[in-house]
Subunit: 516 residues, 2 copies
Amino acid sequence: MNGADLLCETLLANDIDVCFANPGTSEMHFVAALDRQPRMRCVLGLFEGVVTGAADGYARMADKPAATLLHLGPGFANGIANLHNARRAATPIVNVVGDHATFHLPYDAPLTSDIESLARPVSHWIGRADLADNVGQRTEEAISAATRSPGQIATLILHADAAWSPTTVKTVGRAPRQVLRQPDMGRIDRAAKALRSGRRTTIIATGPALREEPLKRLDRIANTAGARLMAQQANGRIRRGSGLPVVDRVPYGVDQALEAFAETEQVILIGAKAPVGFFGYPGKPSSMLPEACEVMDLLADGEDMVAAIEALAEAVGVRPDLAARLAERRSPAMPSGRLTADAIAAVLAHHMPAEAIVCDESVSSGFGSFLMTSGAEPHDFLQLTGGAFGLGLPMSTGASVACPDRKVIGLQADGSGMYTVQALWTQAREKLDIVTVIFANRRYQILRKELENVGAGAPGENARRMLDLDNPDLDWVQIAAGMGVEAARTDTVEGFADLLASACARKGPFLIEAVI
Amino acid sequence: MNGADLLCETLLANDIDVCFANPGTSEMHFVAALDRQPRMRCVLGLFEGVVTGAADGYARMADKPAATLLHLGPGFANGIANLHNARRAATPIVNVVGDHATFHLPYDAPLTSDIESLARPVSHWIGRADLADNVGQRTEEAISAATRSPGQIATLILHADAAWSPTTVKTVGRAPRQVLRQPDMGRIDRAAKALRSGRRTTIIATGPALREEPLKRLDRIANTAGARLMAQQANGRIRRGSGLPVVDRVPYGVDQALEAFAETEQVILIGAKAPVGFFGYPGKPSSMLPEACEVMDLLADGEDMVAAIEALAEAVGVRPDLAARLAERRSPAMPSGRLTADAIAAVLAHHMPAEAIVCDESVSSGFGSFLMTSGAEPHDFLQLTGGAFGLGLPMSTGASVACPDRKVIGLQADGSGMYTVQALWTQAREKLDIVTVIFANRRYQILRKELENVGAGAPGENARRMLDLDNPDLDWVQIAAGMGVEAARTDTVEGFADLLASACARKGPFLIEAVI
């Protein structure tokens, strides 16, 4: 057994059995180790942003980390944007980043770079394995770090000689897992008191609170107390659809968010952050809450969120017979004719199969999709959490690897879709059951709106050249076909409904270029 | 005038008039400023790796920096791999990275990240403009840093409120430029003495030394002294072809490099680094030079390389009538039948038009292209300098923006081409005169060889899944067409020769999928 084998066995012993990978020469001994161990499922991404985004989507659905395999600093760098998103989603990921042999590092060979400096902004834990004998220990530390609540990014730098050298370590260790603390009753009582106070209160939740049972409990708590329940603006995963609570999100737009909280006197945060603007604007506040609004956290780091919600329900005296405000199965009226973003949402609400996993990076085109699908079949809804474009297609890919029996529906803006378009090939290679809907408005529409807000007037030549995706138009049908994914284009509601229905009825990847 | 206008005007006043861009909301006031200033040519990339790689290719050919416009930490991160390559090529680049308004930064909005930590590994200079009134000064500092010899990466972080606030600055400044020092005659004399010593000597050069006149001078120096002249393993730009010196590069392979230097007693470095292995291997040395080999630098940082070469020529008494060893126009014998990597090289040597710019990221498939084109029409040859895949297509794009009247030929491996495939769209949008040759071997061939070297035997399921690009095959003709670039596929020498000849005879982007 060499260091690379020890790494592979330690991952497997800790139930990490999927590795999203884009290896290079310095990782070749780890590739050889993976090759000796067929229990590890290796999924190739043709670009590292695909690798890290897929690891994010996978862990959101599998509730356990995947490993990634990345090639030195530059390979890691290509994966940073989606690690940024994963960090904001509190997704557990174990990155394995190859580095030169320890003896080779001082020679500053072409690929040498400062991996720690690159990793720090997106990693909760960084470690180096520089000897075969410490690979196992470091891997356990990485796994312990990644699985810390609510979910962390651990980056393990593996020197090539630590990988290829034989190890004297004979046993493969189990990484210690964090034990969540019971909720602090002082915080629970304070929140319960606030809910009974009669002041206008909003509960903002994210993370495990948005899974089915805690979410239903929270809905009853809010209902009992006359409070409002919201999800964070962006969330790793929300359970929703018919038979589940209808939960709004904090609005994206600053004006809408300010309006939403104008009357709010108290906010109870459950794993969530107090709402702030996505960007700062001249003359507008950064916090979306009124100055006098009181903010309290229901739990501290390391406390058990589900237990805290249970305790809160008890403290506010949720009556078990209280009717929850659950969505009924309903679909918005079906429009017809020319396709629009909202028409896509309406068609989705009709045709989405039960237990679909919706991966949303539809950006400005998708604001309606969330609203209109609240009464669709029960589903999980996964969002772009860090604002870094290029998560959508990889996230769909990883979610489908985690849940091969569920239909994944990717809602994908065209502009952001191009960032990591290589994910389509992995979807084809792995025969994943994913329908991708490209909202093809052929521009960075969200930036067009922001330019308007700047007061720059009608965009001129340079602005149009930077914000429009036309001249030439992207042909998503050919791009997808070139990577092995069957695809079709439509610009009518009827055409879209037909394509979506047939794509949902079959298995395997399919892409719909929805021209809006 | 606001801070954004001041930035734009300062760039223009310092002859930086091309901006490769992928902006976001925080850069919207800079976009508006660019929109008010049509002298700035804005070139959109649909992914930031395209933006930075294009800036690299542009500056290598324009001999002046381009600006890039990138969106906060995650947008910058997407550009890091090609900035790594640019740093290794000593290419001057001025990155403008938007950041939140200063007052918004403490709120840790979703896109907030540690830009400095991300920028440090690839930037020689990092600065923040946090007030409209210091934008001009910071921009000048960035330009001064970028243009320092031999070429540097400067990263200017522009807060949104510094961009949108009015400035009291009325004049736009010229950035002080570094004045190169005259060569140190002590170093020149030492090198001249070494060349006269009769010991086996290799001159290894890169940077400005590989332009036409200094290169011819170096060739005569080597010829006079009976020394060997080589270029670094990877170089930003080499002038070559008929009528120019035939210059080998330091071999990529460790065994080949060790053999090449086995008898070498002295090495004179001209801007180059002493040769080291691209990677470290078990039981193999990191330095490619024999232990007893003496290494000397012809010049120190900040000294004038061209003047140093002149001084060396004088010191070794180069006779003006000495025949230089210049390549004659010749083409290797034309093969026929099934297409191979070497057959592609032979066809290139026949059909490359004079003054072509060859952008090479053909990786293992292209080892023959360099050798066989030494007697082709005169051309510039641009290489992957930092080993980070994904430079080729963007570099072609930027080189063509810099030199619209020259044919750019991209030699592109299929695996590395997928990293930044979005560059094809920019080639179509800008109607750039680029022929891209995809070496479609449908695998990471270089890694296949490395796996063999590891002694892992025949690859099994997991290794094949990580190293082969098949199942499905990539269809480059459809991928290119999907982004607006006309394309064709061939797997015969005759077919390739026909396609290349016709692509060279017309203007505009064209892609040849050369199945080998």
